[in-house]
């Protein structure tokens, strides 16, 4: 296999709340290849967003990050700030869940785009304005020249997400991390944005990590999925395997809990219980208390991630 573009090795995150230190990520191993689209799914609090915020050093001072984030020969964890700033937006760009509040309300769209162009492409003045127009055009915003003078509140949520994508493209990154990019948007607009992301990837060969709680969104827009639960990756497999032959009971449970739009209606099978608190994880497998197939051994130690087939990893002793 080729050298991966980005490689997370044993990534951990601890939050120091002042009273106690709570581990939110328990050693994430994840490779993203050049041009690959990887999905990261899981329920709220599973650590899917934190993983990439930690990788880029965006978690703030209360977080302690351990492990390695390899980008080429560099390790981003513990790297000098200047180096990180070069990577952010330049090699790895991010877009977020709520586009309208991810843009600064007091600055014009053009200024915010120009900032990224100056940082990563050394463009200024007229050449920056021309490139900004081209980028807005690229993400399907009509009348780009005029939109540059608009403020975020003058655009719809879908339009603002297009602006965020344009801003991410400004640095010509190798990897785009899209953190729930369509969760705040309406269904028909979600479809437009996901289509746009796919199209851009086809054109530019950019890799993408798509973080979502929606298995459907991930299924249709990525090649490979990592399922996360309570700060760990529990299953990592190609799309066809995850949806055709999932191995981890949690993945199976998620799929069984999801209603279909077609075919006969079947009763939903919910996963019993609730996600454990990060500060109060069970000693063994975090999913064991909710798992129908758990045995005594499951409660002894967290299962290690095992490769059960080429490109298919599972963290379950019962798989």
């Amino acid at each position: 296999m080729d050298e991966p573009l980005v490689s997370l090795k044993g990534l951990t995150v601890d939050f120091d709340t002042g009273k106690q230190v709570v581990r939110a990520l328990h050693g994430i191993d994840l490779d993203v290849g050049r041009g690959e689209a990887v999905g990261l799914v899981g329920e709220s609090g599973c650590g899917k967003s934190i993983t990439w915020l930690a990788a880029l050093g965006l978690l703030g001072r209360t977080a302690r990050v351990g492990g390695e984030v390899r980008l080429g020969v560099r390790n981003l964890i513990g790297a000098p700030v200047a180096e990180l700033e070069h990577v952010r937006g330049g090699r790895i760009a991010m877009i977020f869940q709520d586009p309208s509040s991810s843009l600064n309300p007091v600055h014009r769209i053009g200024r915010q785009l120009g900032e990224a162009l100056r940082l990563h492409r050394d463009l200024d003045g007229a050449s920056a304005a021309a490139e900004a127009r081209r980028l807005l055009d690229r993400v399907g915003i009509a009348d780009a020249g005029r939109r540059l003078n608009d403020y975020p509140h003058e655009l719809s949520g879908g339009m603002n997400q297009r602006v965020m994508i344009a801003m991410a493209l400004a640095g010509q990154p190798d990897l785009l991390v899209a953190d729930e990019p369509t969760t705040a948007l309406d269904a028909t607009i979600q479809a437009q944005i996901l289509d746009l992301l796919g199209e851009i990837r086809r054109d530019s060969g950019m890799a993408m990590v798509l973080i979502s709680h929606d298995l459907g969104v991930v299924a249709e827009n990525t090649d490979r999925v990592c399922v996360m639960y309570a700060g760990r990756i529990v299953e990592d497999a190609p799309i066809a395997t995850i949806f055709g032959a999932p191995s981890h009971p949690y993945t199976q449970g998620l799929l069984a809990a999801l209603p279909e739009l077609e075919g006969p209606r079947r009763p939903l099978v919910p996963i019993a219980g609730v996600v454990p608190e990060p500060s109060n994880l069970p000693p063994g497998c975090s999913f064991a208390p909710r798992c129908g197939r758990a045995i005594a051994d499951c409660e002894r130690a967290p299962p290690i991630v095992a490769r059960i087939a080429g490109g298919h990893r599972v963290a379950c002793i019962r798989a």
Partner: protein, 311 residues
């Protein structure tokens, strides 16, 4: 825009009018100027003559109508104490008051805003906690207590500065510091919470994710947004430039508006009190209008509020 301005101006004038009216009736109901100015054991004839001379023997509403009538023509009455026009008397004192309130205002901004920003950026650090402790102390200690402490230390013990009066430029220092400290404390607290609110917004994280240095994230993205709520409190401080120094002026025997107000109220020198209140109301109202325009200038959302009225 013109309609908006006209509306604002009209409301401002109405506010000022209400203040004067209220003050007029409260003052006239609260004591007899004749007894205050002539002393309580003045002969009844003298009191009667005084009352007739100032129109105090006429019905209250008539006095009020006359006052408003003259005021509209620019005549705000004369001081009962020395007979000079009240407006002139008050305006003479304005520079003295501004001489301490303006530097104090600058001091508030120069200390309060940077301290608040620093505390927010270093949240929960020792410096933050210290700043906030000082800030709480700064605005909970009454200004006359602070004034007395400062006098005790710098005038009595060290002998560096005069304890009262307005003979030298150095006399202004203690009043300015006393005024500045409390304001700076309030402003620091306000700025800190405004900053913390802004720093928690998604666009701050997004700006960092773009590759901007933290310094630029703070200066270009956080500060302009934090300025919006801070404007309110700064505007309020502008409104107190004229009348915010009553206590401090009294403690330091500083011959400004504040002291004039205190002595005029004590003497029931009605015209002078009215003029001062008018001036105070006018400053407050003007400050408010300025704040509104500054809002529009720094917050584009205020400029173009689209749909008004909800779903």
């Amino acid at each position: 825009m013109l309609r908006y301005l006209a509306g604002r101006l009209l409301r401002a004038l109405l506010t000022i009018f209400l203040v004067i009216t209220f003050a007029f009736f409260v003052l006239h109901a609260s004591g007899d100027p004749a007894l205050m100015i002539l002393s309580a054991d003045a002969p009844p004839e003298a009191v009667k003559a005084f009352r007739a001379a100032w129109g105090l023997d006429r019905p209250l509403w008539e006095q009020y109508a006359a006052y408003i009538f003259h005021a509209l023509q620019g005549d705000l009455g004369n001081s009962m104490r020395d007979g000079r026009p009240a407006l002139q008397l008050v305006l003479e004192r304005v520079p003295m008051t501004l001489a301490i309130t303006v530097p104090a205002f600058a001091l508030k901004l120069a200390i309060g805003i940077p301290a608040g920003i620093y505390a927010a950026l270093h949240r929960n650090s020792l410096a933050d906690r210290l700043t906030m402790m000082l800030s709480v102390a700064g605005f909970t200690v009454p200004s006359f207590v602070l004034a007395l402490v400062l006098v005790l230390v710098f005038a009595v013990k060290l002998g560096w500065l005069p304890s009262a009066g307005s003979d030298t430029a150095a006399s202004a220092i203690l009043p300015i510091v006393t005024l500045g400290v409390a304001g700076a404390a309030i402003l620091a607290r306000f700025t800190r919470s405004a900053m913390l609110e802004v720093l928690g917004q998604p666009y701050i994280r997004a700006a960092s994710a773009k590759g901007l240095s933290w310094r630029r994230v703070v200066t270009e993205h956080a500060l302009p947004n934090a300025a919006i709520p801070t404007t309110t409190i700064v505007g309020f401080m502008v409104g107190t430039l004229i009348a915010g120094a009553v206590v401090v002026e009294s403690v330091f025997a500083w011959p400004g508006i504040g002291r004039l107000l205190v002595s005029s109220v004590a003497n029931r020198d009605l015209a002078v009190v009215q003029v001062i209140l008018l001036l105070v109301a006018a400053t407050m109202v003007t400050a408010n209008i300025i704040v509104d325009f500054v809002y529009g200038w720094i917050d584009p959302r205020m400029r173009s509020r689209g749909l008004v009225g909800g779903r």
